[in-house]
């Protein structure tokens, strides 16, 4: 009777066992890396916008305060997007006839908001309050990056739940004094927060990481 398997069969079988294990480990590793990669979270990827608005020009060069356009950022959950009237404060005079601003003029005429595409949209089950964060000393720059240098607005952070928790578990190193919240490129004069602030956040860490703090 002829041999059922060739001489190499055992080697092939063992090698495929090992390769199978390596493949499983490799797939797990690939999943680990890709789920953390910037492209998975759309970091650095601009969205198509109706008007090519430039933060670098408005915020960087012209030094317009964030709150001039995002009016409710200190009070409400939503930072707020500027109405056409806000834009027209200047653009009724500056670049008044520019074709790029046509969506803005029709927005004003039709009393319809400009349809900006959000690049920082959180899922509906995550509750985020801009006012709460701003009033506790979380700066714009901490989450949105150097917006004053962006020609096109992009995400600089993943905004993943793990990223939120990085700060919620230990907020103190990420906080700024109230006057520095809206500044860009702020260098801390003294890294040490007052002891009463530290004590407050030590006690608060439990409720800052509760499920229902963000998932209500």
């Amino acid at each position: 009777m002829a041999q059922l398997f060739s001489r190499r069969a055992t080697t092939v079988f063992r090698a495929s066992l090992v390769l199978g294990l390596v493949a499983v480990a490799g797939a797990a590793g690939l999943g680990y890396v890709s789920s953390r990669s910037d492209s998975t979270w759309n970091v650095g990827k601009p969205a198509p916008q109706p008007i090519p608005f430039r933060h670098d020009l408005h915020s960087g060069t012209l030094k317009i305060d964030c709150r001039f356009c995002h009016v409710s950022v200190e009070k409400a959950a939503d930072a707020g997007m500027p109405s056409a009237q806000t834009c027209m404060t200047c653009h009724s005079q500056v670049w008044a006839g520019a074709s790029l601003l046509e969506p803005l003029r029709s927005s004003l005429a039709l009393d319809q908001p400009v349809t900006w595409t959000s690049v920082h949209r959180l899922p509906a089950y995550a509750f985020f309050h801009h006012g709460a964060h701003v009033s506790k000393g979380v700066a714009c720059e901490t989450c949105h990056g150097r917006v004053d240098q962006m020609a096109e607005t992009v995400k600089t952070q993943t905004l993943s739940m793990g990223w939120c928790l990085d700060c919620h578990r230990d907020p103190v190193p990420h906080l700024r004094p109230q006057e520095a919240v809206f500044t860009m490129d702020w260098k801390p004069h003294d890294r040490d927060m007052p002891e009463d602030v530290r004590a407050f956040y030590r006690a608060a860490s439990q409720r800052l990481t509760s499920c229902n703090t963000c998932h209500r």
């Binding site: 953390r36 993943t158 739940m161």
Partner: protein, 436 residues
């Protein structure tokens, strides 16, 4: 000697190698597969439309999903526990029943494992119960019964598969050697993992088989207790009982034994294996089933006493199980699992196919009634009278139950067709010992 040892098990080996298997097998497989189709249909519709298709709603958050899960895992636990005990004790009965006891356990786990996944509601996220480094940086809640399910079922599936497969390797090699078609030779050859039957192989094999069997014993007790604790850690009257793990382990044993008994009798009759599953084996199985049915009776008594000794809310809930809407199921459980098995006291009944199959299937049905009564009864008289509502399964849930029965039957039929139903190497070993 060698040729004699071979010829002993020839009839067993010839069953999986037979070119044709008769219309009865095909008919059975067809029925079973159509039920598997029903299972697929109900699973897919539960996936697409969600668990709203089921009869579960507040306060009856658990219904058929957990009843069927607890029932199937009970069969699997009982059969595993039985098989592992036989291996460790090197009991004579193991040659006859171990192979299909292990198979019953494995197929039971497969049927059971489905329910905790679909009952998640969003089953495609089932891997969230596994502690992996997720980007949301939160570990699974280890106090949640969902994660217990995960560990219980995966552990169960792994050790049961190991016990089944390790016990199968020498027999797969026999099939490889005896197969006539080249494809069958190659398939059995790969599955036999290069078994040549050297002394070293046998020594490793014995050690491995026993190590797995030793692993099974504590794990089964822990896993079955875990299933019971999933109920016991809630506050639902009738569930919140320290006696529940004992109830689940012991009633699971009678469930597994009865299933092994049914299959032993059917295999013996239809495959003419009287020589391998002999009268002594069948008698012993019948007596074991009877003994465990008596233990079951003791547990029902214990349950009754526990109800009497507990608080007023638990008494109301307990008495509701015995006199309320589903009282019929409670009493049917007692009749089927304790009273009817008493006919196994009679020797003729222990040897009769009809009687044992009736008793065995009756015990399985009875235990299902018991799980139903326990799970639904607790909610019917919860602490808040305003939420006293009943539960009735929908057609989708019934389809899931019938579908898993079909899956179990289909797996058994395929097992009978392609794998030796009796452990050939153990039979040879025992016959050899007797001869020398």
């Amino acid at each position: 000697m060698r040729s004699r040892a071979r010829s002993i098990t020839t009839p067993v080996a010839e069953i999986p190698l037979a070119p044709h298997f008769g219309p009865l097998w095909w008919g059975g497989l067809l029925v079973a597969l159509s039920l598997v189709g029903l299972l697929g249909l109900t699973l897919v519709s539960s996936l697409i439309f969600g668990v709203g298709l089921w009869g579960v709603n507040i306060p009856n958050v658990w219904g058929f999903d957990l009843i069927n899960y607890a029932w199937w895992i009970g069969i699997a636990n009982g059969a595993s526990l039985f098989a592992a005990t036989l291996v460790l004790r090197r009991h004579d009965l193991r040659t006859a029943v171990n192979r299909f006891a292990e198979s019953v356990a494995l197929f039971g786990v497969i049927c059971a494992g489905m329910f905790p996944i679909v009952h998640l509601g969003r089953p495609w996220l089932f891997y969230w119960v596994f502690p992996y480094p997720a980007t949301y940086q939160v570990w699974p809640q280890f106090r949640s019964t969902l994660t217990w399910d995960f560990w219980a079922i995966s552990t169960h599936a792994i050790v049961t598969t190991l016990l089944w497969y390790v016990g199968l390797i020498p027999d797969l090699a026999t099939l490889r050697d005896r197969a006539r078609r080249p494809l069958a030779k190659r398939v059995y050859g790969v599955l036999a993992l290069g078994w040549r039957g050297s002394v070293r192989h046998w020594s490793y094999h014995q050690a491995a088989y026993r190590v797995v069997a030793i692993l099974v014993l504590p794990l089964i007790l822990v896993m079955q207790s875990t299933v019971a604790f999933e109920f016991a850690t809630t506050l639902v009257p009738g569930w919140h009982e320290t006696r529940l793990p004992l109830h689940f382990v012991a009633t699971g044993l009678v469930q597994g034994l009865s299933m092994v008994l049914v299959i032993a009798m059917l295999l013996r009759r239809f495959l003419r294996l009287e020589r391998y599953i002999d009268d002594y084996d069948v008698e012993l199985l019948g007596k074991l089933t009877l003994a465990s049915a008596l233990v079951c009776g003791y547990l029902y008594f214990d349950e009754f006493m526990a109800i009497l000794l507990s608080g007023p809310r638990q008494q109301i809930a307990g008495l509701n199980r015995m006199t309320g809407e589903y009282a019929g199921l409670y009493w049917a459980a007692v009749v089927y699992t304790v009273l009817i098995p008493q006919i196994l006291w009679i020797k003729a009944a222990r040897r009769s196919v009809v009687a044992t199959v009736f008793v065995g299937l009756g015990i399985s049905a009875g235990l299902w009634f018991d799980r139903f009564s326990l799970i639904v009864g607790g909610f019917q008289r919860d602490y808040l009278p305003s939420t006293w509502r009943s539960y009735a399964p929908t057609i989708t849930e019934t389809g899931l139950l019938v579908g898993t029965v079909g899956l179990f039957a289909a797996l058994l039929l395929l097992f009978v067709r392609f794998i030796p139903v009796v452990s050939m190497f153990e039979t040879r070993h025992d016959e050899h010992e007797e001869a020398s």
